[in-house]
């Protein structure tokens, strides 16, 4: 890991001067042959990779209208050039969205357009050389596919579509990324990104049940593989082991308990994440989504609820019906799938939860809109519900809430810096620098409004912030799950309240945060890397 300097935060977010090739050295580990071959890709860079890559590119141009139209449409107006968090954090000009797209577009022009075939120098067309491939590998792994540029592009050009295509081309010639491809292999083999086997999952859930009962005196269950349950909860596997994710999982469990619904997790589909989206593979994404359908059918559930996870919610909300639908075997009275925030929001609206807001009084909260939730999905029936629902849930359980600056929230939100398959230690410099815009906005409200904690709605965001916030002088536990806040505030029927505890002199000064017994998990089978947490 190369040494690097954490960007300095200033009074306001400055657009940096361009610094050529300042991030050219940033490349994630290349996938090993075994990880490649499991997904049906060549183990290593094939001999005739140029030819193969151009063939694959041509194939994708006929399959994706987005790619074809976006290759043609950019006028280089420059509106996107100051919008990418990776550019704002690094100053590398190839991290400007138009320049990143051009890495692929220059090859498109050379091989697929009249102008590029005959006048390459005029239109910036380039042959596909090893140097271009290196640039692709480097800079298409400096895009978290967060789509902030797409929100600002007058033609809606979505760099995520382009970076997905580039990664798919690279996979097809044997130059895959280790982090994503290894994890996709694991979800096929072990049902979740962590490689957490069913017995370990069961033990983990039982431990959590004990923790909740110790804390509240109420036997809240976290059921696994219960046939005939009404609701299947599909959540990122980080929720089972990582902090602060697991506190969110406890929150879901308490909400389900209080709602009196019959719910279950599935050991067959113990993962909401679908990393195949990051590598642009429709086929892989399809296979991973089919697991959810099969689990729902095998367990005979009526509804599917999805936990706090950004890209997983994008895949679930926007793609599941396409990939694994139609879900006509589920109860049509509920949205398929339903987000846990929609579920909790509805209960709050119906006054079905007994909430003690003051349980979160030791915190002043702000909320980080996750890119995929904000720009690539929705909650509720109205446009913008994805902004309203999480905030309404937070405000129902907290007294102190402040939004960050308007140009850094809602659809203008900044990526955490670790999305899109980049949440790996080999990209630490990129992750720290890419977090700069969000850290700047957060620091601003820390100073102006005394914000102490930032709530997140995505497993990747939570892992990323827990890791990078210390670089910016904040504590890793300053990031919290939305349902962790719900968990703090909810008073279960029959629960010992604070008043009871005060009488016994055991009132906690901090809201109870059940400790996760990591050893249990590790003893059963070690989740392969801490980095896999962000799933």
């Amino acid at each position: 890991m190369a040494d690097f300097e954490t960007p300095k935060l200033t009074d306001f977010l400055e657009t940096p001067a361009i610094q050529r090739d300042s991030m050219a050295h940033s490349q994630p580990f290349v996938a090993a042959p075994e990880h490649q071959e499991k997904l049906g890709y060549p183990g290593e860079l094939v001999g005739n990779w140029q030819e193969k890559a151009i063939d694959k590119f041509g194939d994708l141009l006929t399959k994706y209208r987005s790619l074809q139209v976006y290759m043609d449409s950019c006028v280089k107006c420059g509106a996107c050039t100051d919008k990418c968090h990776y550019f704002l954090g690094t100053g590398d000009p190839k991290n400007m969205p138009a320049a990143r797209q051009d890495l692929l577009r220059q090859v498109y022009r050379r091989y697929f357009t009249f102008a590029g075939k005959w006048f390459p120098w005029l239109v910036g067309a380039k042959d596909l050389t090893k140097q271009v491939l290196d640039d692709w590998y480097s800079y298409f792994h400096q895009c978290s596919q967060c789509r902030r540029c797409a929100v600002y592009c007058p033609y809606g050009i979505d760099t995520a579509e382009i970076s997905m295509a580039a990664r798919e081309i690279m996979d097809s010639v044997g130059q895959g990324q280790k982090y994503c491809n290894e994890i996709i292999g694991k979800v096929h083999e072990k049902s979740n990104n962590l490689g957490l086997p069913a017995p370990a999952l069961k033990a983990t859930l039982e431990d959590l049940e004990e923790d909740i009962e110790d804390e509240t005196g109420v036997a809240v269950k976290l059921p696994l593989d219960v046939e005939g349950a009404d609701i299947l909860l599909v959540t990122p596997s980080a929720d089972f082991v990582a902090e602060p994710h697991v506190d969110g999982l406890i929150g879901y469990a308490k909400v389900f308990h209080q709602a009196g619904v019959n719910w279950t997790l599935s050991s067959y589909a113990s993962e909401a994440a679908n990393f195949a989206m990051f590598i642009g593979s429709y086929e892989q994404m399809h296979d991973i989504a089919e697991r959810i359908r099969k689990a729902a059918q095998d367990l005979g559930v009526k509804r599917i609820v999805v936990g706090e996870c950004g890209h997983a919610w994008r895949v679930a909300y926007n793609f599941w019906n396409t990939l694994a639908g139609p879900f006509d075997f589920l109860d049509p009275d509920y949205p398929v799938p339903q987000h846990i925030c929609e579920f909790t929001y509805d209960l709050i609206q119906q006054n079905k939860l007994n909430l003690n807001k003051s349980a979160n009084d030791h915190m002043t909260l702000t909320f980080h809109d996750s890119c995929n939730v904000a720009r690539a999905s929705r909650m509720g029936p109205e446009p913008g519900g994805q902004f309203k629902y999480p905030r309404e849930v937070i405000k129902a359980v907290c007294n102190n809430y402040v939004d960050m600056a308007a140009d850094t929230i809602h659809e203008n939100t900044f990526c955490c810096g670790g999305g899109g398959g980049l949440l790996t230690d080999d990209l630490m410099e990129l992750r720290v620098k890419g977090a700069k815009p969000r850290m700047q906005a957060l620091t601003d409200v820390v100073k102006s409004d005394g914000v102490t904690h930032m709530a997140a709605i995505c497993a990747i965001c939570k892992s990323q912030f827990a890791k990078v916030m210390p670089y910016y002088g904040m504590e890793m536990d300053n990031v919290v799950s939305i349902h962790q806040l719900v968990s703090n505030a909810i008073i279960l029927d029959g629960q010992e309240t604070d008043e009871d505890e005060e009488e016994t002199g055991e009132a906690p000064t901090e809201a109870p945060a059940p400790e996760m017994d990591m050893e249990t998990v590790k003893d059963s089978e070690t989740p392969d890397t801490a980095e896999a947490e962000g799933t």
């Binding site: 449409s73 107006c77 102008a115 006048f119």
Partner: protein
Amino acid sequence: MITAIYGSLFYLAALILFGGVAYKIRQYTLTPAPLKIAVTPAPTTSTGVVFRMFREVVFFETLFKSNKWIWLFGYIFHASLLLVVLRHLRYFTEPVWFWVSLIQPFGLYAGFAAVVGLGGLWFRRIAVERVRYISSPSDHLMLALLAAIFLSGLFMRYVERTDIVALKAFVLGLLYFDWQPMPADPILMIHLGLVIVLMIVFPISKLLHAPGLFFSPTLNQVDNPREQRHLAPWAAKLDPRSGAGTN
């Protein structure tokens, strides 16, 4: 001789322009969008999508949100271009349509405004480091081409007038396949020659942003994936339940 060269070139250029754009539109139409990728703020109804596209086309809504300067210069240029093109319909119609004669005075000033717009965009392309970085020679040439067309047009209107009556006869002659001589005015030859270049370049350049905008899935999709299943033909072949087979 001039008449024959320009006449033939105009036919050729029109063929390339309309044929080329039709080809691209066909390509965009036939290429499926397999996934729902509407970008926020995405409308939940097709009426909403029509309004969204309307606001994009008529007001450049997103660009306004993105960058006020690019919006300002870009908007001035495009609005002026529209007026100037409509004003030029007077050379294609006899008698001149009523509404075309109505916009005539505005169309004249629009020529100047267009040059201002182009100038502002070109200035940014050179002066703003980030925009300079993403610019290719063709991006500068495109601005030069458009500027030259406008400047030569303004020159013929305000400095040295061309024989506009003869020109109109030439244009109508092309339209009705009854060729009339083209005035041998050097500035006019430059003006028309550059217009021919623009027409030819249109379908093979970034000017495809004009039809492309309407086919952008992030903008033109309805945000209703939970309510309505969206399945592209090639994707349906992977789907065991679509009845599309698995070949």
